[in-house]
Amino acid sequence: MLACRPVLLSVCIPTHDGRRAELAEALEAITSQLGPEHAGRVEICVTDNASADGTEELVTALARAHPIVYHRHPQNIGPGENVMASATLGSGRWLWLHSSDDTIVPGAVDAVLRWVESAPTLVGLSLARARLERGMRYEIEPEPSVIAPDQPGRRQIFADSREALAQVGIMQTFLTSTIVRRDAWEQALARDPDLPIRLAPHFPQTYVIGRALLDDGGGWGWEPRKLVLNRTGNELFSELGGSRVTASVMMPTELERLWRTLLGPRDATMQQLRERLRLIWAAPGWLDMAKLGPAASTVTDLQLLGIAGPLWRLPQFWTRTVPRLAMPHLVAHAARSTRLRTIRMPRLPAGRADAARITVDVPPTAEAGAFLRLPCTIEAVGRAALRTAMPAPVYLVVAWRGARENGRPIEQRRALPRTVRPGDPLTLDVTVSAPWTPGEHVLTIGLEQENGAGMLTEHVAAVHVIPQPGADGSDSRGGAPPTERPDRDDDGGAGGDGERRGTLRDEVDRAGPWWHAIDLGEVVTPGTKTPAILEAELAGLRLPDLRGRTVLDIGAWDGFYSFAAERAGASRVVALDHLAWSIRVPDFVSAWSQVIEDLPPGRVPPDALDVAREADGWDPVGLPGKAGFDLAHRTLGSAVESAVLDIANDDLASLGRFDVVLFLGVLYHLRNPLGALRRLHALCDDLAVIETEAIAIGGHPDAAAAQFMGTRKRNDDPTNWWAPTAAGLERWCLAAGFSRVERVGQRPPEPPAGKVSPCRVTVHAWR
């Protein structure tokens, strides 16, 4: 009865022995999205490759409540045959080829239905996907960008079939990400039913889709939302020869063969597809990993040569891949070991003076301690590129010449995020803080090549540093004044407006120093974090819709994020802080300097929080550091509540629980970060937004670790204790009890092996 009825969408799931638990998750994800409105429109077709793990009982039980069609093969017919069989089982006008170990996000079924209803002439569409670790608890590093189309963030339809193949050909190899129109599929298959399996036993569906696309000409869609949750680490590698190395040769070989059959060997689209295969399976990073891995041997070297089969027609293969491919693994090991053991190389292989050019706009004036955002454009001059790794990596060095803090020069080094080739300049935003000593300072921004070449180029600029308003108790009007709103008409105090503005300006001066620049209507407070920086940070948090929700802002300080949450429509906002409100920053800095001065040689300084508590300016009742928050609160007429509590030690139960908790720039100041995250978890009802100082470890991009800054403090800030990696922060969140963690914002940098890059990381952690 069911097979006779025309259905709109058949979700075709081929499964096999050992996949029962994963299949249950996949079916749960789909069936939980089906309601009465989907009756007769969506069906699930499961073909079982003779499993003996209870799959039949599972599916049969579910089929009593859901529209599931099930077929069990009496014997294992192979993975490719099983995929093809699943497509014949149902009757839907569209086939959603779904892997039995992936799942989909809530709303994915409706999103697909909207696609196929709005564009019924398409041959099919591909869905973007998120890669999750084997336990499906958190997202791991994204896939290489060449897997997705050139503009992966844009919803688009490729009307030209060859263009579609070139753009999403790789995506069409993934089950769960592929939806295809049934009649186009069947017509393509009818041309030679045995050819797909013969050509590509592991990817027959890719051949049929390619054939359908070329024959039908209806175009192909691309859905940029990550509707698919892909489980990594499945059995594909064991099916493809038993190891990653053999799989890395067999997969491109098979795919190149089937696309060559469709397009011809010298077709331009074919070359584009080959280039994508090269960038995935012959990428320098992958070849290094294979040759330097603990299991590498001469057999590995020989196996990797097999990649020449599908790629030899590409000129780039000979120029870029072959040199690395031809290097025996022992030579690669020797080179790597030498690089890691040698501190300075005696000769510079690629040293080039005047080989680079740097352009940067430096403001002539800056406030003491203020952050300066410097957009730097870096160009390679001549023929040689500025490299990020061996043999001579290049670093961007930003330094205040002659200025010192805590006895050390103020300098920061950053690895270049990518190789800068001639004709391909790199624009990098560098944020530096101005020296605390007012006066004339010289800022140098240069490119330094490691291993002896020294400075390649240098940009030198003079900056006049002016004191912060009211920072030292002097006449605040001698320093930088609070910024006035440019859209206000300041006519020098004609009547009450000018007078009120003048009064507010004086109050802002007295309440400083400010950390946040907050727009008070008449005046913008002179925060160390400028409006531009705060706006960029706020956007980077990717906050959810806060309308009607309760928000807790931990570490609120001047309250910029609390007021932003209130503006966004939150029903209740609580700003919580302790240290920054109980002491003014200059008092803390002077107390700490005194402690360092009095410290006996060889002794380690005490905990900065203890120093703050012992300082003269410590006043947890009068709250001298809260003056800025209070002024902004009063001026804005805000209803934000404030709570003076220590997240690390105080009892927070009286606050209740909050829909959204902001935990921004606090974690790395705490000596017990895991304990703080557990408290955060207890306060959070739905989502915690966690932002922290972090590190990226060169050569170990997936390391889940944290750097403990016991005696070697980052940025000379004595309150810094921990800097986790992005993966480490995710693990902390999971250990604290959050069920799901997602990284947001910029991707962490990838420093060269042996180096560490500081960075900031933001995650969304769901309860």
Binding site: P36, L340, R767
Partner: protein, 155 residues
């Protein structure tokens, strides 16, 4: 039509069942994060030993505070024995690996030798010596090396 009715009825039943399950489920309060081990070291007060051996640093929920307490209790010598992880080319970074644990096993840490050294120095020990450190540099690859670390620390 009959099939459609049957499917509608099945979907309705599923929805009602799900709602009922949600109502009767123990709720979010019942969720528990991974268990941790809290090393109080309080029992050491009564014994007042000259030498303290700490073997469970990697299982401590708060390794920094544990080491701070260890410093308070230590008169002569503290010996820290712990599983450790070393990342080749990052031996001087003070890194500590994070193992999130699950319902069956508690949260754990796996520090590098420099990580333990940093913890002990920050806690106030002045003489920290690695007695059993990482194995000799592995000539192949740069994967993390796991081993058992022994450190002696004196106030």
């Amino acid at each position: 039509m009959a099939t459609a009715r049957r499917l509608r009825r099945a979907a309705l039943l599923t929805r009602l069942r799900t709602r009922a399950q949600r109502r009767t489920s123990p709720g979010r309060e019942a969720e528990r994060p991974a268990p941790t081990v809290d090393l109080g070291l309080a029992g050491l007060d009564s014994t007042d030993p000259d030498v303290i051996v700490l073997r469970d640093l990697h299982r401590s929920a708060d390794p920094a505070t544990t080491v701070w307490r260890l410093r308070e209790r230590t008169r002569e010598l503290a010996i820290v024995v712990t599983p450790a992880t070393e990342w080749p080319a990052h031996e001087q970074r003070g890194l500590i690996e994070i193992l999130p644990g699950d319902a069956a096993s508690p949260v754990a840490w796996s520090p590098s030798a420099d990580g333990v050294r940093e913890l002990l120095l920050a806690a106030g020990f002045s003489d920290v010596r690695v007695v059993v450190g990482p194995p000799a540099y592995r000539p192949r690859g740069w994967r993390p090396v796991h081993y058992t670390l022994v450190v002696h620390a004196r106030p």
